[in-house]
Amino acid sequence: MAGILIHSAVEQGELRAEFWELVTVARQLAPSVGGGLRVALAGSQLGDALEQARRAGAAEVRVLEHAQLADPWPEGHFEALAALCGRLDPEVVLVPRTPLGAEVAARLAIRRGASLVHDVTHVQKGADGITATRPVFGGAVSATVQARRGPWVIVPRPHAFAAAAPADGEASPVVREAFAPATPPRTFCGARTRQGSSGAKDIEKARVLVSGGAGLGGPEPFRLLGEVAELLGGAVAASRVAVDAGWVPTSLQVGLTGRSVAPDLYLAVGISGATHHLAGCSSAQVIAVVNSDPAAPFFRLANYGVVGDWKEVIPAFRDALKEKLATSRVA
């Protein structure tokens, strides 16, 4: 039992942003774990992702490439990883906190009898095993947890760790693995539907996010947020309430069960700041909050706060912005 293995699923040939955060965690843990770093990439067509992953400074990149891994099929990805772990016997497995990753990690921990350390914002290994910090109760409470016995499966929280820079030197060698599940599958994938994300930019990549919540009261005001986002070259996001109410598609949801984002500016409108939501946006560089409730918890996390009615604040904000951006372009 030795070494660190980073596992990442690849969709549409793109390496997830979290990959480089996992590399940071791996580099932090490497001195106390020993046995080197390996990377496992899984998917049906790895494309550019493989070349990028080879720059992580790993001893090797194991490739789990198979048509059946095209979908985010938890059991398939898990079986492929479990088979690999059976051969490599890593001491620490790092998995990104995506819906797929979190499930693969949990299944792997169960199969291997490993300790699952979930959603960590800080992690270290000492003589007593792994000690980690993680937010619980939706972020209202911080917990320090300890897992004495290895092996460990660690799921870092997105954006809690800085992205690592690619390593200098030779690209890692690639080892191709066969997809050979230990047991016949028990769950099966059928038709996949993608939401028509017409014009909606990927909120994980946007540098500016204008996010709306329950306070907006319906789908129409998101058009106003869209205008502001357009001015700022950003995208529109939303809280869970807005998504569950059907005002905007799921792909715009920021929060514990939605996307985790870390834009330069997160402008939250009509979102009270349930800890569930804050968990997904607390890594933003600057947070500005517009809310009519002065006691809204979001203000505690904000750099700038406006206590007021968004119906008054946002149109004026948009107009002022339009004006200022126009004049500064002329100047």
């Binding site: 009270s272 009519s292 409730d293 008054e312």
Partner: protein, 687 residues
């Protein structure tokens, strides 16, 4: 001739008089059967009668059924109805007098009485009645007043349509007959019946001689008798029934705030909850359905109808009557509904399908319809009874409301999604808590809007500040306060209401206080008029009542003059439900320089802000926005400040004005906020 008695010969020129009794017998039989049929609706209805305050109730009957005050609010139609009904009434008396004299041989139709009453007064009464009925026909068929228009699926019945026509015929033939008699007899007292006399002159000129006059009179007499008898027999088959039912309905109509409290539900009885089928009617509801003449005054007053929402209180009562009489439902919705998705499950109780669930949920329970109804029909309690059925038997209600109610049940407030504490609004103010004080002169009931709504918090701060300034010994319940359950009651969740109320009563029992003062009109109504049903009898004041007293007794001095033109929006549950229209105005008048400019609809006839009946959490389901319509009405006064006295109104009006007059519109302030500004020590700051 001089000695001739001042009367007229009995049954002059009438052949086969005994046949008349047969006609009358048929009339009585038809009438009796009709009455029986109409009374069937009461079979199985729950007993419900308000029998307290008989004197006040009788006065109400005098004012509304006899003097017809409510009808006269609409001048033209009111006068027409008054002329018509009084004229008709007098003619009936005259007929009775004639019967006494002619059939029973009691000589009453004699002398000056005959000349002044039986001849002149009745002649004028008939003329007035003709004028009245002509105006009414004109309004219905020529100018087509909108409130009278019938929906396509419930056209006016032929009988109902014939009523005024037949009535006109009765009157005209009456005059023609009288004219023929006067002319034929050359009646010396003929001039005392001026219309009859003039008709007689005309007939004499038109007809060849006495024989023709006599023949005309004889024919007309029978014709008149038959149609007049038919007219009377038709009473139970037509809207004429209200002649009998209206005084009853008015007698049992609410006479004060306590009567406007909703009926409690007996959960122990195991009976079906709420109104979901015709056997669930109370006596009064059955009476309401039977009394309604579809005059549409409720519809004209309804803010939801005025803004194109799928509710007409007139149609609702019509639907209920059709349903009560066992007529098939005409489909779930008869007004254009634009709701994006159906609100409810498919298998609706028949009665709900008959009135349409949209209509039931669209109601803001503002009570404008009840206030407008001249016949004492109570639409709102019936709407709530239907909601009770939907909510408590079928758990079927609009989704957003469901979230609010789930939150109310779990967390004691309908404001879901907030993790604000109940006392966040007190930050920076020294507001004493009952838990520490145990007793206080005034218990300030903040309400959920005061605690959790941004606009309401400001009002709560203003009230607390002013109470402190006046040196009132007060305290709040703080975190111990929980929702009165008013919202739950209005949307029909009586079980949740009683749970909420039980919790509140337990909390209140712990402390001693002289009075509860609240800034919320809904909490006010609930605590004052509905809690007594559960044994909670307190002195409950609306904050405007306390402020009025504090200003009158100079415990508060409004020094800073204010040159503002202010219009006051009466919260429904303060003005209409509790008749308290004067206190807030007295407070405003106590501030130097304030000028009150009333909106077209004010006081008891105020127009809802759109936030009542659960709509603060539901929003408008479809159609226009009531708050926008009210904002327009406020703008029309030119006032710079729209004052109100309920946090829901404040927040709805603010939103409405923000849309209807963006940027430069008037500000919306609670009366307490205005008082707070004008009683500030030192120079008045600009606001």
């Amino acid at each position: 001739m001089v000695a001739m008695e001042m009367t007229r010969p009995p049954y002059w020129n009438v052949a086969g008089k005994d046949l008349m009794y047969l006609v009358l017998a048929i009339q009585v039989a038809v009438l009796g059967y009709g009455v029986y049929r109409r009374c069937r609706v009461w079979r199985g209805a729950t007993r419900f009668a308000r029998l307290d305050e008989i004197g006040l109730r009788l006065r109400q009957v005098l004012a509304q059924a006899v003097a017809q005050r409510r009808l006269l609010r609409e001048r033209g139609a009111g006068l027409a109805h008054l002329a018509f009904s009084w004229g008709f009434g007098l003619l009936l008396v005259g007929t009775a007098v004639a019967m006494l004299d002619e059939d029973f041989g009691i000589p009453v139709m004699r002398g000056a009485f005959y000349l002044w009453f039986q001849s002149l007064a009745l002649d004028l009464a008939g003329l007035a009645a003709i004028a009245g009925v002509a105006v009414m026909l004109w309004r219905r068929h020529v100018t087509k007043a909108s409130r009278l228009r019938e929906p396509a699926d419930r056209p006016e019945t032929t009988l109902d349509a014939l009523v005024p026509v037949v009535f006109l015929l009765v009157l005209v033939t009456g005059f023609a007959m009288e004219g023929a008699r006067i002319a034929a007899l050359d009646d010396p007292w003929g001039r005392w019946s001026p219309v009859g006399y003039a008709t007689g002159l005309a007939l004499r000129g038109a007809l060849p001689g006495d024989a023709a006059l006599k023949a005309l009179h004889g024919g007309l007499w029978w014709f008149h008798l038959v149609i007049a008898s038919a007219f009377v027999a038709a009473i139970p088959y037509t809207k004429l029934a209200h002649v009998v039912t209206a005084p009853l309905g008015i007698f049992f109509a609410p006479i004060g705030p306590a009567d406007r409290a909703l009926r409690p539900v007996d959960f122990e009885s195991g009976a079906r909850l709420g109104l979901g089928a015709r056997d669930g009617f109370t006596w009064k509801q059955a009476l309401d359905a039977e009394t309604c003449t579809q005059c549409g005054r409720c519809q004209a007053a309804c803010p939801a109808y005025a803004t194109g929402q799928p509710l007409s209180p007139k149609a609702l009562v019509g639907d209920l009557r059709d349903h009560a009489r066992g007529r098939p439902a005409h489909g779930p919705v008869h007004l254009p509904a634009t709701a994006e998705r159906p609100l409810l499950a498919q298998d609706l109780p028949e009665l709900v399908a008959a009135v349409s669930p949209e209509a039931v949920w669209t109601c803001v329970t503002c009570g404008a319809c009840v206030e407008a109804c001249p016949l004492g029909v109570e639409h709102v309690p019936t709407v709530v009874e239907i909601r009770r059925h939907l909510v408590m038997e079928a758990a079927s209600y609009p989704e957003r409301l469901q979230a609010a109610m789930a939150n109310l049940e779990a967390r004691g407030t309908p404001y879901q999604g907030t993790s604000t504490s109940r006392t966040a609004w007190t930050r920076g103010l020294d507001v004493p808590r009952m838990a520490q004080r145990r007793r206080a002169e005034v218990l300030f009931w903040v309400g959920c809007a005061g605690a959790f709504d941004e606009r309401g918090q400001k009002v709560a701060r203003a009230i607390a500040t002013v109470l402190r300034r006046a040196g009132v010994d007060f305290a709040i319940l703080g975190e111990e306060e929980s929702c009165t359950g008013d919202a739950a009651r209005r949307i029909g969740d009586e079980l949740l209401f009683s749970t909420c109320a039980q919790r509140v009563l337990e909390t209140l029992a712990k402390y001693e206080f002289g009075a509860i003062v609240t800034g919320c009109a809904h909490c006010f109504h609930s605590l004052k008029n509905e809690y007594p049903q559960l044994g909670g009898k307190f002195r409950v004041l609306h904050h405007t009542e306390l402020l009025r007293d504090l200003l009158a007794s100079r415990r508060l001095e409004a020094k800073a003059p204010d040159g503002d033109v202010v219009t006051f929006h009466d919260p429904c549950y303060l003005g209409r439900y509790n008749g308290q229209c004067d206190a807030p105005r007295a407070v405003l008048r106590a501030i130097p320089g304030v000028r009150i400019e009333e909106m077209a609809r004010s006081r008891e006839q105020s127009f809802c802000c759109g936030g009542g009946g659960g709509h603060a959490w539901m929003g408008e389901l479809s159609g226009g926005r009531i708050s926008h319509a009210r904002a327009d009405q406020a703008l029309a006064t030119g006032a710079r400040t729209v004052a109100t006295a309920c946090p829901f109104c404040a927040s709805m009006l603010k939103d409405g004005l923000a849309v209807r007059s963006p940027g430069s519109g008037p500000q919306v302030l609670d009366v307490a906020e205005i008082v707070e500004l004008s009683t500030r020590p030192g120079p008045r700051p600009d606001h």
